[in-house]
């Protein structure tokens, strides 16, 4: 049985840890509503871009480097979205695990992956292991602004648009965590570039024969593109990429906050259980010492009585 003093100090330190965990949990849950608001605020813009891209796809044969596969280049870029801070359970480690298996898979299929990392935890993981990183970004992983998305998409598009001889890449994969709900967050790998233009239901497939004006009327309004289709594509496709990346950042941020809240909730519960346990042991040890003292007193009193007789 340990000393009462040791139990008391352990209980005190666990209690202060519990307070910290509880505070972290409350902070995380307050951040979640904010993350949800940010995601909702960004949605109209994303929708507008998506609609514009859809109508471009429906009306023109798009020939733009962003949608075309480059066959002559083995290099691919991989962007991993991790957290800036720890205390988020397995959030960063599951991203890293998925990234590693993606890198290994790409290596096996004869590609040369280049790694880009967002988030301080991921950056320090790879720096510590002396891995080659093509680019890193840090800061605000739990509330990424448009500026970060802009920086990242600019750097990656630059790498993508460069010719193979100058170190350009042919594909871009993003490893991120999708926010499904407060309890479920899934790690996903998304091939961002070249863009696969998905058709909304009931529109004509791009590979079908040239679209006639009559068919246009049946599907969507016939747009006039100004100043020209190419200029519009040049402007909108990079914005589309940027908004997709921003979307990934936002859903990752929401997942990070949610897994932090879950982790902190579990930690708070554990701390409380530990305190209960320790308190019980403290009581037992106090009772034991009282019993021992009583036995000693009674024993010695008995001995004295016997001597008097």
């Amino acid at each position: 049985m340990g000393s009462q003093l040791a139990f008391k100090s352990r209980i005190a330190s666990t209690a202060s840890l519990e307070k910290i965990f509880n505070a972290q949990e409350m902070i995380a849950s307050s951040h979640i509503s904010r993350a949800r608001k940010v995601a909702l605020d960004a949605k109209p813009y994303t929708d507008a871009i998506f609609d514009a891209v859809q109508s471009l796809v429906a009306h023109t044969h798009i020939t733009h480097p962003i949608v075309e596969k480059k066959e002559d280049n083995d290099r691919v870029a991989v962007l991993a979205l991790t957290a800036d801070r720890g205390m988020a359970g397995a959030y960063t480690s599951s991203i890293i695990r998925e990234t590693e298996s993606l890198l290994a898979g790409l290596d096996k299929s004869g590609k040369q992956p280049e790694l880009y990392v967002y988030g301080r935890r991921g950056v320090s993981y790879y720096k510590y292991r002396n891995r080659d990183i093509a680019g890193t970004w840090e800061g605000n992983s739990d509330q990424p602004g448009v500026e970060v998305a802009e920086e990242i998409s600019k750097a990656l598009l630059d790498a993508y648009m460069k010719p193979a001889a100058k170190g350009g890449v042919a594909e871009l994969y993003i490893v991120f965590t999708e926010f499904e709900n407060m309890v479920v967050q899934k790690v996903r790998v998304l091939r961002m570039l070249p863009v696969e233009l998905v058709h909304a239901p009931k529109t004509i497939h791009i590979d079908s024969k040239p679209i006639t004006p009559e068919e246009h009327d049946k599907t969507a309004p016939l747009y006039a593109f100004e100043p020209g289709v190419d200029e519009v594509l040049d402007t909108i496709l990079p914005k589309y990429i940027q908004s997709r990346i921003h979307e990934c950042l936002l859903t990752s941020a929401a997942s990070e906050t949610a897994s932090r809240q879950n982790a902190m909730h579990t930690a708070t519960d554990n701390a409380r259980n530990l305190i209960d346990d320790l308190t019980r042991k403290l009581n037992a040890s106090r009772q034991a010492s009282i019993t021992q003292e009583l036995t000693e007193i009674i024993g010695s009193a008995d001995a004295l009585n016997k001597e008097e007789e």
């Binding site: 605020d41 514009a52 747009y223 006039a224 593109f225 100004e226 402007t235 914005k239």
Partner: protein, 97 residues
């Protein structure tokens, strides 16, 4: 246009991080890449690149709003105008013309 139903269109101005303004308007001018462009209700469907400048919206009652925007694009179809820009903000509160 007294006594006559004024035609209006739905306008949505969205920046990449938040919606800026939405409402109905009777005319909108935008800084199109090849010079200013005015859009009235029932314009033909159009997708245009815009550059940095000011978007002016005139509401049905004549209230004018000005928005500072940087590059983006506008899409107009079925009497709905969407102005999507990287960054945009309202310059002044509504003024009567």
């Amino acid at each position: 246009m007294a006594g006559q139903e004024q035609s209006t269109m739905q306008v949505n101005i969205v920046a990449s991080d938040r919606p800026v303004w939405s409402g109905t308007a009777r005319s909108v001018t935008i800084p199109a890449s090849e010079g200013g462009m005015g859009i009235l209700p029932d314009h033909e469907p159009v997708l245009t690149v815009i550059r940095e400048g000011t978007v002016t919206v005139t509401e049905a009652e004549g209230t004018q709003h000005a928005f500072q925007v940087n590059d983006g694009f506008i899409a107009f179809d079925s009497n709905k105008l969407t102005v999507a820009v990287e960054r945009g903000s309202q310059v002044d509160e509504g003024q009567h013309e």
